[in-house]
């Protein structure tokens, strides 16, 4: 088998070891049996009627036990009478199931599990994630002094069962860097570190967490993660990938996180803000969530095809983001493993199929947005503009007089208004007609033309142009707008997912195997949004809790955060997941409180140090006998380098920016040049989330660190470790510039001795002092580098200033060049690109 995912297989194996294999214990259907049925049987004997063979269905107990043909697939308590057991154990090529041609045999261990399951009565259970989470009691723990909060009870209980023990708490410097990166995406400043280290109060850590949660950087960091789910980009996608103006939505997300908008509200506004009573401007902006789908404006394409593709994407994204349920299969056929039919799919499609957007190049419908200044003056400006328009259209006696003079002059071949454009031919023609012979229409045209060019009204015209500029929207954002009346579309099943091949008509609704919409609720987006966050929904709270967990611990309690269905992996700590899900709902979907809960646990605060035994036992840190440690995201690595060097701009919000990127010299197909002008001033140094996100030409260094292109919803980014990443942080001018600025900062703030400067560099970058050995190595490096540059002033100058710019007054180039080499090493440390 080819690797399913870089971490997936490993975790599956580990989770199994604690299953029923070892002992004769009771079989758990969801843990032991469902994966076998799902992977080996249900493709032909599952929910999909079209694929079903021998009219046998194994995912429903009644069907599996049905003996109306004289025998039954399963006879509870009697494996030897069960056709299923005979078939999977058979050595006869003609009888054995799955058939040898499928090349997916049931293993001996699996056959044994099936046999024991039938022996024990072949009890089925609803797939764990489709049953509503029940709040479990906290397990009693062996060491009551260790837990800081309920999370730790579950973790410690499991560690105990596995014969493992937790690690000691990480030191404070490590902790503050870890938690600052997790909550804000930025490392702490040396001043924040000093404040925390000097705080003797028992709740020092909690108060630190509160400070971090209250900073604006929190919302920016959380937004970055949400924008992967929302497939936010500043371009429309497909071949020519034109720019799209939708950054107001990105800013809405940042502000919503910073305001700690409850997640259920956050859901309603994005899914259906326009359908809320008397929606505010901000609620309309929120609906751009589903306008992040791609639009195709290549010549010769069918808009309906791509409008339909966008609705498909909205169905898939909605179910993935909120319910961890992949619907993609059911677009073309009834799901083979989970109880979702193709009709179910198009029920959801029908709910989302009635908005006004239609794959148009102009992205209509758009919401114009105005600044506060504009809004404050809007009425006054509009009034002034109206009165100016009237003035400009009114021929006073004085103007009539002036018009006569102008007419005479023009007819005499003069140019009375040399600054105005040449008198156009149609006007000249009217002029040549005798004044008394002109029709009313001609007279009006002539007067209008005159009023439009006469210098007597120049001041009014200029002012009107100015007002038009002031009244123009500051920006626009594509939004959802529900169609009404005859414009509403009917939805039909698209056979094999083809938008031209239509089957039966489908009424809007939710998948039948889930909880229904409330009685009397209109089957629209607003009801769907409420359904997603309803108390009866078994999935949403688990999915959200799991995603927050994954963000902080590196891996979800359900390792496949995008798939909670039977094809996903089961939770490693099912009770903990359910406790967290119920806690999230109990606190009113308060995300800041939820993150605080996670990071103040003893589990989170453990040291991430690992010894070879533990590493061999639990390489992926499933059981959490140590603290989390993993590579930072693309944006975090960039933001951190700019932050520690003092370059990062604190500016929030606004249009996307273009930090330096290498020129390609290429054009897009049938389009314009791909390269962009580099932003200047502060915009060169903004946080990564403000970088213009172009789907077909993503910012290269971010791609290298596993940022997706955001064509579709991304739940989980991979974390690879490649040589191309080394080239970015060593040589990309963005990182060289950061090294130069960091070097100047180390020299400026560190003090006179090399020791002090190295210490300052460590404090800025890693929130700690260097060890003796680290200091020695860097001292040797700076000495060697200084030596190398002392004979080569040109190289020294380049190293210290290209691209950052001129040296501070009085600075020696070889000195700063040498420190730039040191700073370049610091920015590339393993510890630097990791949270640990």
């Amino acid at each position: 088998m080819i690797v399913r995912s870089l971490i997936g297989t490993l975790t599956a194996t580990i989770a199994l070891t604690s299953g029923a294999l070892a002992a004769d214990g009771p079989i758990d259907f969801n843990r032991d049996i469902r994966p076998i049925l799902s992977n080996k049987c249900l493709f032909c004997h599952g929910p999909d009627e079209a694929e079903r063979k021998a009219d046998l269905r194994l995912d429903v107990r009644d069907d599996a036990l049905d003996a109306s043909k004289g025998y039954a697939a399963i006879v509870p308590g009697n494996p030897d009478e069960s056709e299923l057991i005979y078939r999977v154990e058979s050595e006869d090529d003609l009888d054995v199931m799955p058939p040898p041609s499928v090349a997916n045999p049931v293993t001996e261990e699996e056959a044994e599990l099936l046999r024991r399951w039938v022996e024990q009565g072949a009890e089925y259970a609803v797939h764990w994630s489709y049953a509503k989470p029940e709040r479990p009691d906290l397990p009693e723990v062996s060491d009551p002094s260790w837990p800081s909060n309920p999370i730790d009870h579950f973790i410690l209980d499991r560690l105990h069962a596995e014969g493992l023990a937790p690690s000691p708490e990480a030191d404070r410097a490590t902790l503050i860097r870890r938690v600052a990166l997790d909550l804000t995406g930025l490392p702490p400043t040396p001043e924040q570190v000093a404040e925390f280290l000097a705080d003797p109060a028992p709740d020092a850590f909690e108060r630190l967490v509160d400070r971090l949660l209250a900073s604006h950087s929190y919302g920016e960091h959380q937004a970055r993660l949400w924008l992967d789910l929302a497939r936010y980009a500043d371009s429309a996608g497909y071949a020519d990938d034109p720019s799209r103006t939708i950054w107001a939505y990105r800013d809405w997300v940042i502000d919503a996180f910073n305001a700690n908008m409850p997640f259920d509200r956050f859901t309603l506004e994005q899914m259906a803000g326009d359908l809320l009573p008397d929606p505010s401007e901000s609620q309309l902006v929120a609906t751009a969530f589903h306008r992040n789908t791609m639009t195709n404006s290549e010549g010769g394409t069918d808009d309906e095809e791509f409008r339909s593709a966008a609705i498909v994407d909205r169905v898939n994204t909605t179910m993935t983001v909120w319910m961890g349920t992949s619907m993609a299969c059911a677009q073309c056929h009834t799901h083979k493993y989970d109880p979702i039919s193709q009709v179910d799919y198009f029920r959801l499609y029908a709910i989302l199929n009635n908005t006004a957007d239609a794959d148009l190049r102009d992205e209509a419908p758009l919401l114009p947005l105005f600044t506060e200044e504009q809004l404050a003056h809007k009425a006054e400006w509009e009034q002034e503009a109206a009165s100016l328009r009237e003035t400009l259209a009114t021929a006073t006696p004085e103007l009539k007089e002036a018009q006569h003079d102008w007419e005479r002059a023009v007819l005499a071949g003069e140019e009375p208004f040399p600054d105005a454009p040449k008198v156009p031919e149609p006007i000249l023609e009217i002029l040549r007609v005798d004044a008394s012979e002109r029709s009313d229409e001609q007279a009006k045209q002539l007067a209008d033309h005159f009023l439009g060019v006469t210098p007597l009204l120049q001041a009014e015209r200029s002012r009107l142009a100015e007002l038009k500029g002031k009244l123009a929207p500051h920006t626009t954002v594509p939004i959802m707008r529900e169609l009404a009346g005859d414009d509403r579309r009917t939805t039909r099943v698209q056979l094999r997912g083809n938008y031209l091949d239509l089957g039966e008509e489908v009424a809007p609704g939710v998948p039948e195997s889930f909880h229904p919409l409330p009685d009397g609720a209109a089957p629209d987006r607003l009801s769907l949004a409420r359904w997603l966050v309803a108390d009866e929904n078994p999935l949403t709270a688990r999915v959200v809790a799991n995603r927050c967990w994954e963000q902080v611990f590196g891996q979800g309690l359900v390792p496949t955060g995008e798939e909670f269905g039977s094809q996903g992996e089961p939770p490693t700590h099912p009770e903990l997941l359910d406790w967290l899900a119920t806690e999230l709902v109990r606190t009113g979907w308060d995300l800041k409180a939820f993150f605080k809960l996670l990071v103040t646990s003893s589990t989170y605060r453990q040291s991430s140090r690992v010894d070879p035994d533990l590493l061999e036992r639990d390489p992926a840190n499933i059981f959490l006998a140590r603290g989390p440690r993993f590579r930072l995201s693309a944006e975090m690595i960039r933001d951190q380098a700019l932050f520690v060097s003092g370059l990062l701009s604190p500016q929030m919000h606004g249009p996307p920016v273009n930090p330096p990127r290498p020129a390609t010299g290429l054009n897009a197909a049938f389009g314009s040049a791909i390269d962009r002008e580099t932003s200047t001033g502060q915009n060169r140094y903004r946080r990564g989330l403000y970088t213009e996100w172009r789907r077909t030409n993503p910012y290269p260094s971010m791609t290298t660190f596993d940022a997706p292109n955001r064509e579709v919803c991304t739940v989980r980014r991979e974390r690879t470790n490649t040589p191309l990443q080394a080239l970015v942080t060593l040589n990309d001018p963005v990182y060289v510039e950061a090294a130069q600025a960091l070097a100047r900062r180390m020299v400026r703030e560190g003090g006179e001795t090399a020791d002090d400067r190295i210490r300052r560099g460590f404090q800025l970058c890693l929130a700690r002092d260097p060890s003796e050995a680290e200091r020695e190595h860097l001292l040797a490096l700076v000495e060697d580098a200084r030596l190398a540059f002392s004979g080569d002033p040109e190289a020294a100058l380049a190293m210290a200033t290209d691209p950052l710019g001129p040296l501070p007054e009085g600075a020696a180039p070889d000195e700063l060049a040498a420190w730039t080499v040191v700073a370049n090493v610091l920015l590339n440390l393993d510890e630097m690109v990791l949270k640990r």
């Binding site: 080819i2 399913r4 995912s5 870089l6 497909y238 071949a239 010549g299 010769g300 992949s326 993609a328 493993y337 995008e562 269905g565 094809q567 690992v610 590493l615 590579r631 290498p662 010299g665 290429l666 054009n667 897009a668 197909a669 789907r695 077909t696 596993d706 997706p708 292109n709 064509e711 991979e718 690879t720 470790n721 490649t722 040589p723 191309l724 990443q725 080394a726 080239l727 970015v728 060593l730 040589n731 990309d732 680290e774 190595h777 860097l778 040797a780 060697d784 030596l787 190398a788 540059f789 002392s790 040109e794 190289a795 380049a798 290209d802 080499v821 440390l829 393993d830 510890e831 690109v833």
Partner: protein
């Protein structure tokens, strides 16, 4: 010796290894640095570690030559004397009913080729006079005249060809191949993309993206201007010895971390920095075609320092020689609508082909001469075909052009265990539909994967609860194309 140089050279990698603290980090590191291959194991986190395919492969490497825009197959490979005979007549309704064409409506005029055709080589494969140098390799190539697709716009058709789906978001061919096989090369990317004629293909980076596969499997674009691979040059002012010296310090500090915290990923990172260091040398070296003999450079029609398809063909050979798994070339300018003299089927096509047939023929001969053709599969294609009638917009002018046509087109392959000197499939006498042995784009993909040792139905990746594959839910290996 200059004392500075001496001091720098003193602190070499070996020295660093000798001086390093003993323990887990040091041992792991020593094995990484001394024997890269030993550490190239995916469980240790190297996603490019070699892995075996499903069965013994015929080909190890792929060079895919893509003519962006779709070359006029009826003027290059698929000779239709009857179309010449009826040239200028109204296109019969039966070929137009219920059809949409990108830029043609109403009743267009049939267009017989203005080119001269003849059987070429001992195998007698028919080719036109537009590609004289390819006549010399007629006995090496495996021509498929019965290709078809469903997409008649460039971007979706290229995406279908390279990712198996007409929409963005799926992994590309080269990503699947490097994901499946890993990379032979220790100091070059496994999947390299080379672009000529100044314009990206219509599918954009989606044509070499990794989709939902880890991004490490996406194609690395090598550029003819600036850094051949992004950020491969040291920053201004830093020479190689100082880079080496600073990397040594970096390794030393990272080794201390590995020692203290015991995470194997740190050792992997050290190894990746060493690989990056080697790439800094090997990439500019392999990209420098001036190292080739004048005879070879001339055979390809390449020009050191320029940016051209010919240079890219020569580079492709250099890259596979160095163990690069999959080299993808895109050349812009094959969209022969007839909207300008460059898109005319007479002189325009002659001129465009002159930039293509010489390097392609040279590449095939060169690979053969070096014993690389057996293990290297060369593929030449467009994303669809062109109509047997004149394009609607340009039909009134003097310039002869054709519209997009998905129902029939021609591609060829060479080497990598495909049947040489063979012509596969036939279209009807006017070239409107396939009458013999149709080959869908998914069949081509299945066949190429087969040559690399994969069962295309088993090369899968789980995403959003589904096992995805390059051929989606389609595709059959075309056995007749295999030697």
């Amino acid at each position: 010796m200059d004392p500075r140089t001496e001091r720098l050279q003193h602190v070499t990698r070996r020295h660093f290894l000798r001086e390093m603290p003993a323990g887990l980090g040091a041992v792991a590191l020593a094995s990484l640095l001394n024997d890269g291959a030993q550490a190239r194991d995916r469980s240790s986190g190297d996603p490019m570690a070699l892995r075996p395919p499903h069965f013994a492969p015929k080909a190890k490497n792929v060079i895919y030559l893509h003519m962006s825009g779709a070359p006029p197959h009826l003027d290059l490979f698929d000779y239709k004397p009857a179309l010449v005979k009826h040239s200028g007549q109204d296109c019969p309704d039966r070929f137009l009913e219920g059809r949409r064409f990108a830029f043609t409506s109403g009743t267009p005029k049939l267009l017989g080729t203005p080119r001269t055709f003849a059987p070429r080589g001992e195998s007698g494969i028919w080719m036109s006079d537009a590609i004289p140098r390819l006549h010399d390799v007629a006995d090496e190539i495996c021509l498929v005249k019965s290709m078809y697709t469903e997409q008649f716009n460039h971007a979706p058709a290229e995406l279908l060809l390279f990712t198996g789906s007409p929409r963005q978001g799926r992994p590309s061919f080269g990503s699947w191949v490097t994901y499946g096989l890993g990379s032979e090369s220790q100091d070059l990317p496994g999947f390299v993309v080379l672009i000529s004629s100044g314009v990206q293909p219509s599918a954009g980076q989606g044509a070499w993206g990794s989709g939902f596969l880890p991004s490490v499997y996406q194609g690395v674009q090598c550029r003819s201007k600036g850094d051949p691979v992004l950020y491969v040059s040291d920053p201004p002012g830093m020479d190689r010895s100082l880079r080496r010296r600073s990397l040594d310090t970096l390794n030393e500090l990272n080794a201390l971390q590995a020692e203290e915290l015991g995470h194997p990923e740190t050792s992997t990172r050290i190894a990746q920095y060493e690989l990056a260091y080697r790439m800094q040398m090997s990439v500019p070296e392999v990209m420098d075609i001036s190292r080739e003999s004048p005879t070879t450079i001339d055979a390809y029609g390449a020009q050191p320092g320029a940016a051209s398809f010919a240079n890219n063909c020569l580079l492709a050979r250099r890259l596979v020689e160095q163990g690069v798994r999959y080299v993808q070339l895109f050349d812009w300018g094959w969209d022969f609508h007839g909207t300008g003299p460059g898109e005319d089927l007479r002189d325009g096509l002659t001129n465009k082909c002159a930039t293509m047939d010489r390097p392609v023929a040279a590449l095939i001969k060169d690979l053969k001469a070096r014993g690389l053709l057996d293990e290297t599969l060369v593929i030449w294609s467009g994303e669809f075909g062109r109509t047997p009638f004149r394009e609607g917009r340009t039909s009134g002018g003097n310039i002869l052009g054709r519209d997009h046509y998905p129902d029939c087109f021609a591609i060829f392959m060479a080497g990598g265990g495909v049947r040489p000197g063979y012509s596969h499939g036939e279209t009807d006498e006017l070239g409107f539909s396939i009458v013999e042995k149709p080959v869908h784009v998914h069949d081509l993909q299945a066949t190429i994967l087969h040559q690399l040792g994969f069962d295309h139905e088993r090369l899968t990746y789980r995403f959003q609860g589904r096992d995805f594959r390059l051929t989606d839910v389609h595709g059959h290996v075309v056995d007749e194309l295999l030697a």
